[in-house]
Symmetry: C2
Subunit: 214 residues, 2 copies
């Protein structure tokens, strides 16, 4: 397997955690999202992923994009150790939490969106930073409540094991700190994050540990 990644992409980080958690051997191809206008817009990368974003995963000659689609693929092909519970209800809640981060928080802070806010919408750094914090804060408010309902509020978002939802939390908490969000209103999320980052699958895959980190 070959992962197309960028060190600071939180969606790529989710997949790096999944590959590490499952112990799947793979190579990594760095795609620089900023240098020279962004390598993701090159002809050769367009063949890999017409959406021109990372991550993408190549396996057996095929390429898949969208981090959660890739993680579901890894879960089906390499079920152990699992990233989803066995019961229907638990699986639905884990996916709900993962999608809350992937669909409601992350899309509003990706590079293309921030560039559009600064460009066509003529927003300065202050309003853009406030925009990012607003959406992380709103999403985290709901996620904090879900974590209390469905987890122990100290180690994992759901139940007593690492799940797909945890893979989405840690990179988003990293982004929240980078964007100076006050995380004190989210004590369960902060505690879970603090526990998860002690696990090798999370710590060894962090942005600063990547070969393309700057």
């Amino acid at each position: 397997m070959k992962l197309f990644s960028y060190w600071r992409s939180s969606a790529a980080w989710r997949v790096r955690i999944a590959l590490s958690w499952k112990g799947i051997p793979h190579g990594t191809v760095p795609v620089h999202l900023i240098r020279a206008g962004g390598q993701q817009h090159s002809e050769s990368y367009h063949e890999v992923n017409p959406q021109q974003r990372v991550p993408a995963l190549e396996d057996e000659g095929r390429v898949y994009a969208q981090s959660l689609a890739i993680i579901e693929y890894l879960e089906e092909k390499h079920p152990e150790p699992p990233l989803l519970p066995v019961d229907f209800a638990g699986r639905a809640i884990v996916r709900q939490m993962a999608l809350l981060v992937a669909c409601e928080i992350h899309p509003l802070q990706n590079l293309a969106v921030l560039n559009y806010l600064r460009g066509p919408l003529a927003q300065g750094d202050g309003p853009v930073a406030e925009w990012v914090r607003h959406w992380i804060g709103q999403g985290f408010t709901a996620l904090e409540e879900l974590a209390r309902r469905h987890g122990d509020g100290t180690r994992y978002l759901h139940g007593g094991a690492v799940s797909m939802a945890d893979l989405c939390l840690v990179p988003m908490m990293y982004n929240a700190r980078r964007h100076h969000l006050d995380i004190r209103p989210f004590p369960a999320l902060a505690a879970i994050d603090a526990h998860l980052v002690t696990l090798p699958a999370f710590s060894t895959t962090r942005p600063e540990a990547q070969a393309d980190a700057e």
Copy 2:
């Protein structure tokens, strides 16, 4: 089962199609997203979904949110007729296409985001409409190419059967037209949409056919 829905919500429409496609009996509870500041912000709905959005599905005393998490739940609990292919590769591509719509297009046009653009960012109707069309157009450009790679380009987004990806396409095509996007650059998507809307699971669940339609 009980679906919390709003007639014009494209995420709710996806779930309505899934329930209809699988022939699952259910009740519908309309949640008016606009009237009186939005019923999704009420105390009683907060219990249902702390994220204060539709859709949500209640089943056996539990509630699930996030349309794709709900559809995966329905697929696991009621596998026939399927909304995912049987092979790992096909499932990954279908999920990639579904997530492309759910994570990259839809989050940028939901009600809360458009209100923020008009409010704190002080954008007028023109720039907001242009913003919506920009993100649908960018997402559709990638989806059009994926449809040509993985489908016949005339009836379904993937392979020769309805899938989870098609459930995301039709509501987004409806939104694209509502926002006056020129869809001529997307002939495959337009053809697939034209075919899908002839199927009862898609046509009977459309916004205008809902009891709460205005």
